[in-house]
Symmetry: C2
Subunit: 204 residues, 2 copies
DNA sequence: AAATTTAATGAACAAGGTTCAGAGGGCAAA
DNA sequence: TTTGCCCTCTGAACCTTGTTCATTAAATTT
């Protein structure tokens, strides 16, 4: 059955091709300004072909969305090698920030409102696997910190949420350019400097 | 000159009518899924009329955007009455969170990526007045806290950015429903509980 | 009453998402 | 080899949306 296999492989490859072209376009022109025709042209296939591999534009978006979370998740997972949990939380934040800044468009794609929600609502509601995974890595690490006597008097879940929010908030404001609008002395490093402040505060 | 005045008043009123219809639609159906025709129908005017009052859809968006920031700004400004700066920062966060939760759609409209940027880039770049104002209220208050001996060893600007980010991040994640996806025990109160954790941490 | 200014209209256009009947090429059975 | 089936790929065609503009109609001024 070599032929069927080859065909299957070709299908997977073409699907991946669509995805990579879409990613490049989404990232450079923005999702709204990327047309299916653009994507088709970029890979030298017709419009219809794109629809053979994806139900609609939203499905393309969602595929990339997952991809982004997987990449981020992998990077965060690597830090499980750091023994000291307090060091690990700190590192988690840094890696997260680096990811967000290095993949700014991917990041805003991952967290931008409209599209993913549409998709999530349909039926894939509570199965946002990648996100849950990343959240639990952080939660687990903070749990260990608490065990070791850090964060006395704190409650795990809200603490985790707050930590994630602080880091996410800094990245989001940076990426949405709101930081620039506000006339900072050095907008480019504000996330890192903000994070340092955060670490100072949680380090007692 | 009573006639000219009346006309002027009518123009302003119709403009406001467009705006309020647009707001309602943006908020219920989302910006992308609201069409100019929808707005026109809602107010029983023709499509063309909408364009008499607004250059394009983006201009409508921007007007609402400003409106949102003005409302938020006003609520925050009220807190200047609180003497103690440390109490004031805490209150600023609470009011901000209440605003975000009570006006969830308006908030996501205010901070959602695409549209405002388009507009900002054109020429209104560094004149994002409302945002700067709100940021400076927070910054000023934190400056007073530092004067009074709080936040030793911290730098004002990154500290302000971090504070804003933490609160914004919690609101943003809550509103984008990312909080739900992550299986929290009580998603509805997570922002408030997260904020309490934050206050605990900054209160040493 | 006529002329002028102004606001409102909606048909028309361009561009984008999506569909679907059909072309074309490989593959297996005859 | 030839025939017919099965898939993939195609792109014209449809519908919706943002946007424009010549035209209509009403109000105001002369």
């Amino acid at each position: 059955m070599g032929i069927a296999e080859r065909r299957e492989k070709e299908k997977i490859e073409l699907r991946a091709l669509v995805l990579s072209a879409a990613k490049k376009l989404f990232v450079t022109k923005g999702i709204e300004h990327t047309t299916i025709r653009n994507i088709a042209e970029a890979i030298d296939y017709s419009v219809g072909t794109v629809y053979v591999y994806f139900k609609d534009k939203n499905a393309i978006f969602h595929a990339l969305h997952s991809q982004g979370f997987n990449e981020l998740g992998q990077q965060l997972a690597l830090l499980m090698a750091v023994e000291n949990p307090m060091e690990r939380v700190k590192a988690l934040g840094r890696v997260y920030i680096n990811f967000a800044k290095a993949n700014a468009d991917m990041y805003s794609l991952m967290f931008s409102q409209p599209a993913p929600i549409d998709y999530l609502e349909e039926e894939h509601a509570d199965e946002w696997k990648e996100g849950v995974l990343a959240f639990n890595v952080l939660k687990g690490t903070l749990a260990q910190c608490i065990e070791q006597g850090y964060f006395k008097g704190h409650t795990l879940e809200p603490l985790t949420y707050m930590f994630w929010s602080a880091v996410h908030g800094m990245c989001a404001l940076y990426i949405s350019e709101r930081a620039k609008g506000v006339n900072l002395t050095d907008p480019n490093t504000i996330v890192e400097r903000g994070y340092e402040e955060f670490l100072k505060i949680i380090g007692e």
